[in-house]
């Protein structure tokens, strides 16, 4: 698959810091894949996202060594038009409201206004995205009057409406209740089905196991592991490095340890149920 973002020997220092926030990063992001980013707090996940989007060093300043290329061009050489290529959604739903619009409809349309899209097309696209993100019922409300989960959906809608090919989503559910989390993940799933390239930072590891194709593990500014989610999330040794693993993977490892005949360690609930059932059947046949 085509490489859309490439990091070459990237080391980045925030201003006035001696220790790099991200060090020796080499990575290729392929088009259409879903990347889950995990790691402890302060491991460099958010900095990684800011680097891909060019906010570091573009906005935060600081010192960047190496290169971050988006479609072959350095992020620092892009101007505002990078917002058309990469959508960016982050943690706090309250700060992701532009603060100049009175209704959700206008809020979602704001980016398209900046892009200079014709009025009729704006209306069509905004309505379509509001349907997709299930906020059409809120269209005439003031965005500041919404709940956290609703605001986060508005923030997602405001970015999706720009139709970027790449989406960077940084802990979108950390401030939401389970219901809000679920609604946000429904949207992320719909984006995955549309073959968008998605880079998602998320602490709820079971959701990563469910949706991601690949997993990137960060520790103290280094990318320590990357690859297929089943390979990474079934690596029990990661538990000792502060990475949380899916409950079912831990269960699988414990079962294996006790001599239960599992083919491999499951990472999602479905897999676990299937594998354990199979093993039990085989066990019966043997007996």
């Amino acid at each position: 698959m085509a490489v859309v973002i490439e990091c070459k020997d990237v080391t980045y220092y925030y201003p006035l810091t001696e220790k790099p926030a991200v060090e020796d990063l080499n990575l290729k992001i392929e088009s259409g894949k879903f990347y889950g980013v995990v790691g402890e707090n302060g491991a460099g996940k958010t900095t990684f996202c800011a680097l891909l989007r060019g906010f570091a060093p573009g906005f935060y300043k600081g010192e960047l060594k190496g290169e971050v290329l988006v479609e072959g061009k350095k992020t620092i050489e892009y101007g505002g038009e990078l917002s058309a290529k990469i959508g960016y959604v982050f943690q706090n739903p309250f700060t992701q409201i532009s603060g100049v619009k009175d209704t959700v409809f206008e809020e979602v349309a704001y980016g398209l206004e900046n892009f200079g899209v014709p009025v009729e097309e704006i209306e069509r696209r905004v309505i379509e995205v509001m349907k997709m993100t299930d906020i059409e019922a809120l269209a005439e409300k003031n965005p500041f009057d919404l709940s956290g989960g609703q605001m986060q959906r508005v923030a997602l809608a405001s970015v999706i409406v720009l139709e970027p090919d790449i989406l960077i989503i940084d802990e979108p559910t950390s401030q939401l209740d389970p219901e809000g989390t679920e609604s946000v993940f429904r949207i992320i799933k719909a984006l995955k089905d549309r073959k968008k390239t998605i880079i998602l930072v998320e602490h709820k590891i079971d959701l990563i196991a469910e949706y991601a194709d690949e997993v990137l593990v960060f520790e103290k500014g280094h990318l320590i592991k990357s690859g297929d989610k089943e390979k990474i999330l079934s690596d029990i040794s990661l538990l000792d490095r502060g990475v949380s693993l899916p409950q079912v993977a831990i269960l699988g490892a414990k079962l294996k340890e006790k001599g239960f005949p599992l083919r491999k360690i499951p990472v999602t609930e479905d897999q676990a149920v299937r594998m354990i059932r199979e093993s039990l059947k085989e066990g019966k046949q043997d007996a």
Partner: protein, 267 residues
Amino acid sequence: MENYIEKIQIRKSNKLAGLYPSTKALIVLMYAVCTFIVNTIEVTDIGLPLFLIPQFLVILILCKASGVLGRCIKALNTVAVVALIILLVQTFLVPGGDLIWRFGILRIYERGLRTAVSLSFLIMNIAGIFVWLFQTTENKEISRALEDSGMNYKAAYVFTSTLQMIEILGRNSKTIMNAQKARGVETEGNLIVRAKAFFPSLVPLILGAVISSEERVLTLEARGFTMQGPKTHLFELKKSGWEGKAAAASVLITVLLLAGRIMLWLL
């Protein structure tokens, strides 16, 4: 399909309320000039600018004609309280000129009365015309007009978001007050108690606003705020059709008033 574009437009049937914001700004300016001219016309033995008082009727008539009298009265009440305080303080505290009236320790001097009447009714008139402006004009009309008049879109953003943020900060401050109350900070009571609660509630409010402004910059950046090229505006600013007439009338009245004032001097 619902017509959202139509719903966000502001349609005013009242021709005065629907004036283009820049025309309204001209009216406000001319009214302020008139107020200062009227302020120089001094009557009675001690030279009070009493014509400022009937001039205030113009505000009420303007509000009534724009169909917003009810809302304006509410805002004007607040202005009136401020003006009244200034009137009393100036009347009793500023010395100078002849003593006009005394009762116990209270004394009213000529100059005190003059500055009191002048200042408080200047405030009533000028604040009043601004009340009319803001009660008949929505924020997004003003920011749109500013942008159309060639103001940088970034400056227009700052203007609009500032107006919106006042409300948001007010709401946040209530949340913080409640949180501090839960931690035992007393926020209700006499002046001293409230003053003590000032810092624990204000510091988080301001710091929070500063921190969230950083994220808001990133949000705007992600929405193509710095994108080069022309922008689309869903909200269309309409003229009511009376712009020419209203502007001409306000300028004419001001010029006539000025001419009258000069005549009075010469005679």
